[in-house]
């Protein structure tokens, strides 16, 4: 018996929600990045599920794009975090509030 489409979608939704909660709640910048990755991967899962369900390769092609972008973003993001850490000895986003009015 094959897995119904809705199962994939619900799983994807849960994973996405977890990612959002992680971004909104956690204070460590690296954890926030991991949560962002989690969100991206949840979306990838959705794309693949639909690709299989609609018998089209478009979904899986798009997943490639998403992964490429995710990688680039992580590279840049980690570089920024490193720079911040060198400057301020912390990666706690709660302490990075210089742009406060």
């Amino acid at each position: 018996m094959s897995v119904p489409l809705s199962a994939y979608l619900i799983l994807s939704a849960y994973l996405f929600a977890l990612g959002v909660i992680g971004v909104a709640t956690r204070r460590n910048a690296l954890i926030i990045f991991m949560s962002i990755e989690l969100m991206l991967n949840a979306v990838n899962l959705t794309f693949v599920a639909f690709s299989r369900s609609l018998q089209s390769m478009d979904g899986q092609i798009f997943v490639f794009f998403v992964m490429a972008v995710a990688t680039a973003e992580v590279a840049v993001g980690l570089a920024i975090i490193l720079a911040i850490h060198r400057n301020r000895e912390t990666v706690d986003v709660a302490e990075l509030n210089l742009l406060k009015w």
Binding site: V23, T25, V93, A94, W101
Partner: protein, 636 residues
């Protein structure tokens, strides 16, 4: 026939050149540009009038439209120029006397820090005045009427750091504006009744469309005359002219004697076709003129500032010009305008020469015995005084006598009497002035006495030329009375306007002339000479002591300035202060400041969004996405 716009062009260019580059060019160049520009206007005017004389006697009228201006619906007013004998006389007077005064001013204003600005303004004035008299429609006339008023303000308040001068400039402009209000209304009324503001169509349509003696034409002419009372300093709007003496003397000579103040007379003469349809207005004009003539002359009897005496004399003589217009003797009035330009300008320039020689003294009680030290000034001043007093055969006699004769012949005997009384006073105060300043006792300040010297050539030559003019212009152009060269030249303009001619028999003319001369002679040799020539006669002081109230009323100019201050100036000033405190500050400033306060309050509230805290930004982000998704899913 040359292009008429070439006449006013040169002073405009002079104004632009001296106004923009004056400081860089330096005084000598500025002087040459300014004088040359008016000189060119004079040459152009002479050529234009020469060409005009080539035309047959009744057809001397050239109208040229240099450029279109306003053409909306049925309304048309262009940069149009009209040259006929009337405007021909005016341009010759303006450019001729103007040129001499420009030359004089080069000497008088020598060394002044703002020399270029002065000549820029003087050129601007000359340009505006020439445009005023050459205009072919009331709108253009009005524009340049205002322009000469502006120049008057700028030139009266030329030494603007002196508070008195700045005040005088303001007073002149504001009082003029009151008159101009009437003038503007008159032009508008003309437009609504006749459908045009151009002279030719309006004057052609007037007899047909305006009932003679009717309310409309009377209203139009009275409103126009109100403007003339402001510009030409008649009752009740004359108060600015004595104060205008704060300006440099060449300004007083040019603007407040020879040209700007005559704009009102010109305008009434030009509007003769309208005035001839409104006998009531003509009476008003004649009476205002006659009363002003006597009123101003009476004030001049006791004034002690040399320029103020001449200023009141100007107001008085302008009164005679309006008296002439009012009794239908337009040609004589304009003739008096022309002769008056000569001798009054000369009187002012002579006064300036005296002031210059005495290092700024203007009080005649501190002058005396200057005849020997200022030979040219005193001689020419003497001739000008004779002309002003109306002694045959000098200029003022012919013109003033014609006006009085016309008044008599049109049965205005009371006005004739007033005019003759005024003539007596004129003769008296002019020679009171002459004898006190140039003869009599030497009352000079010691330091001043050392520096007394005759004026430099730039100032002396114009005095001489104007002096010769005062001696000759009258007899050359005005003899025989009402039929001389001038009259034959100008007569068609006023005949076409429907002016009634009052026949005067030769006997009456000679008789009146004799009476006029006798009155003037009495004033001069009968009274003024014996009272003032020696400087020892106590009679004037005794008379003043016997009638102290009358003396004080005259000296304080009938308290008119004080009256106007109480009636108009003070209430308006208080209204202004009230408006400032109760409206301008709270409401206007309040709204502007209020907007600022509002923005500041709003921003104080909104900036709390910017926490600098990434988590809150992320939360807003997520919230927004949820909202959009929700909207898209459930609402659409």
């Amino acid at each position: 026939m040359l292009d008429l716009w070439l006449i006013p062009l040169w002073p405009l260019l002079g104004f632009l050149a001296n106004g923009v580059f004056g400081r860089r060019l330096g005084a000598p160049v500025v002087a040459k540009i300014a004088c040359a520009s008016v000189g060119l206007s004079l040459l152009a005017s002479i050529k234009a009038v020469w060409d005009l004389l080539d035309l047959p006697h009744g057809a001397r009228r050239i109208e040229q439209v240099a450029a279109p201006w306003i053409g909306v619906g049925g309304f048309r007013a262009d940069w149009g120029f009209l040259l006929d004998p009337l405007s021909g006389v005016m341009i010759l007077v303006v450019s001729g006397v103007g040129f001499l005064i420009h030359v004089y001013a080069v000497g008088y204003m020598h060394g002044d820090r703002d020399f270029p600005r002065f000549f820029a303004y003087l050129n601007l004035f000359t340009f505006s005045m020439l445009m005023l008299v050459l205009a072919n429609n009331y709108l253009l006339l009005y524009v340049f009427w205002e322009a000469v008023g502006l120049c008057s303000y700028l030139l009266i308040g030329f030494w603007f750091e002196r508070p008195a001068a700045a005040e005088a400039g303001k007073k002149a402009f504001i009082v003029n504006r009151v008159g101009d209000f009437g003038f503007g209304l008159g032009v508008m009324l003309l437009w609504t009744t006749l459908g045009t503001v151009q002279y030719a169509p309006a004057f052609a349509a007037a007899p047909g469309q305006l009932a003679a003696g009717g309310g409309l034409v009377t209203a139009i002419t009275l409103l126009l005359f109100l403007g003339a009372t402001g510009k030409s300093a008649q009752l009740p709007l004359y108060v600015w002219l004595p104060d205008a003496m704060e300006g440099p003397t060449p300004v007083s000579a040019l603007i407040h004697a020879a040209t700007m103040v005559t704009a009102g007379v010109y305008m009434v003469a030009r509007s003769a076709p309208l005035f001839n349809l409104a006998p009531l207005s003509m009476s008003v004009v004649a009476w205002v003129g006659g009363l002003t003539a006597v009123f101003a002359a009476s004030i001049a009897l006791v004034q002690t500032d040399i320029k103020r005496v001449v200023a009141y004399s100007t107001i008085s003589q302008l009164g005679y010009m309006f008296l002439g217009c009012g009794v239908g003797a337009y040609a004589s009035a304009v003739f008096h305008l022309a002769t008056h330009a000569f001798f009054k300008a000369l009187l002012f320039l002579g006064a300036g020469s005296v002031i210059h020689a005495l290092g700024g003294e203007q009080d005649i009680r501190k002058m005396g015995r200057l005849k020997g030290k200022l030979p040219i000034t005193s001689r020419t001043f003497y001739w000008a005084s004779l002309a002003n007093a109306g002694i045959i055969p000098l200029a003022g006699f012919w013109s003033k006598d014609e006006i009085l004769a016309a008044t008599f012949a049109s049965h205005h005997y009371l006005l004739w009497g007033l005019g003759s009384v005024g003539a007596f006073m004129t003769a008296f105060y002019m020679f009171r002035l002459y004898y006190t300043v140039f003869e009599g006792k030497d009352n000079l300040d010691h330091q001043v006495a050392h520096h007394v010297h005759e004026s430099p050539p730039a100032m002396a030559y114009p005095l001489l030329i104007l002096g010769i003019g005062s001696l000759l212009v009258g007899v050359l152009f005005g003899f025989p009375p009402d039929h001389g060269l001038y009259h034959r030249f100008v007569e068609p303009v006023f005949a076409a306007a429907g002016t009634e001619a009052h026949a005067i028999s030769l006997g009456t003319t000679v008789g009146l002339a004799a009476v006029a001369t006798a009155i003037a002679a009495l004033g001069i040799w009968g009274l003024a000479r014996s009272w003032y020539k020696s400087g020892d006669n106590p009679a004037p002081e005794r008379l003043a002591a016997r009638y102290p109230t009358a003396y004080r009323v005259l000296l304080r100019k009938y308290y008119v300035d004080e009256l106007y201050d109480a009636l108009f100036v003070e209430p308006i000033r208080r209204l202004a202060v009230w408006l400032w405190r109760r409206f301008d500050e709270p409401v206007v400033d309040g709204s502007v400041n209020g907007v600022g306060a509002l923005v500041r309050a709003g921003s104080a509230a909104l900036r709390r969004l910017q926490t600098g805290y990434v988590m809150s930004y992320v939360l807003s982000f997520v919230g927004g996405v949820v909202a959009i998704l929700g909207y898209l899913t459930f609402w659409r």
